[in-house]
């Protein structure tokens, strides 16, 4: 029951990699900041993201700010959230682990 909050750029060897390796079924992964670039369908990290077997959330404001299109993710698995829902997620999970640059 860990919320992995990923704000780092999704490049090989980054915290994004670690979070994807650790996330298990009962966890959740929240993409914020530059972490949302992994939602680009042709990004090398995108397949890694979709291979995770826990719920994936992404902060809508950070997608919008970066011009990362919501529709282009082509996946039903991503839940788009606002700041209020982030707070709810944080409260729901006993542990929050941040992966940042």
């Amino acid at each position: 029951m860990t919320l992995h909050i990923v704000s780092c750029n999704p490049q090989p060897g980054s915290g994004f990699d670690t979070a994807c390796q650790l996330a298990q079924k009962t966890d959740a992964l929240l993409l914020v900041g530059n972490g949302v670039y992994s939602l680009l369908p042709n990004h090398t990290s995108h397949a890694q993201l979709l291979a995770i077997n826990c719920p994936i959330y992404a902060l809508m404001d950070d997608l919008n700010a970066r011009g990362v299109p919501e529709a282009a993710t082509g996946s039903q698995m991503i839940h788009y959230v606002d700041y209020q829902e982030w707070v709810n997620l944080a409260a729901l999970h006993p542990q929050n682990v941040s992966w940042f640059d």
Partner: protein, 121 residues
């Protein structure tokens, strides 16, 4: 492994390039100085903190390995490292400045779950 009130420090940054590694160890020592139970996990690029013989005076910094060596003075024994990281970063056969117990991903998940709080650096 750790008792319920313990704090886990997750070190995810290389020793040079950002202040994160140093901040993490300093915070860890502050916790230990006040006798708060702590554990430390090196994962991803954080594992580079454990390389021996860091002569970082050459770039104007105190060697991080020497700071880590001081952890023994604070009776910090719960020191872990991600086993997969060791393999991926080519550190398996490198001598490390302090000994750390390698953990598989599932064991790291257990480690996170059994601590009351997790601080990331």
């Amino acid at each position: 492994m750790a008792d319920k009130k313990s704090t886990l420090f997750v070190m995810q940054h290389a020793p040079i390039g950002s202040r994160s590694a140093r901040d993490g160890v300093e915070a860890l020592m502050a916790f230990a100085a006040f006798e708060q139970p702590v554990s430390i996990l090196f994962v991803g690029q954080g594992a580079f903190q454990l390389l021996q013989n860091q002569a970082s005076e050459a770039v104007g910094l105190k060697p991080h390995s020497k700071l880590l060596a001081a952890l023994a003075l604070y009776d910090i024994d719960n020191i872990y490292i991600c086993a997969q990281t060791l393999k991926e970063l080519g550190l398996s056969n490198q001598p490390l400045c302090i000994s750390a117990q390698p953990l598989a991903a599932s064991e790291i998940n257990d480690l996170i779950a059994e601590h009351q709080s997790v601080l990331c650096f």
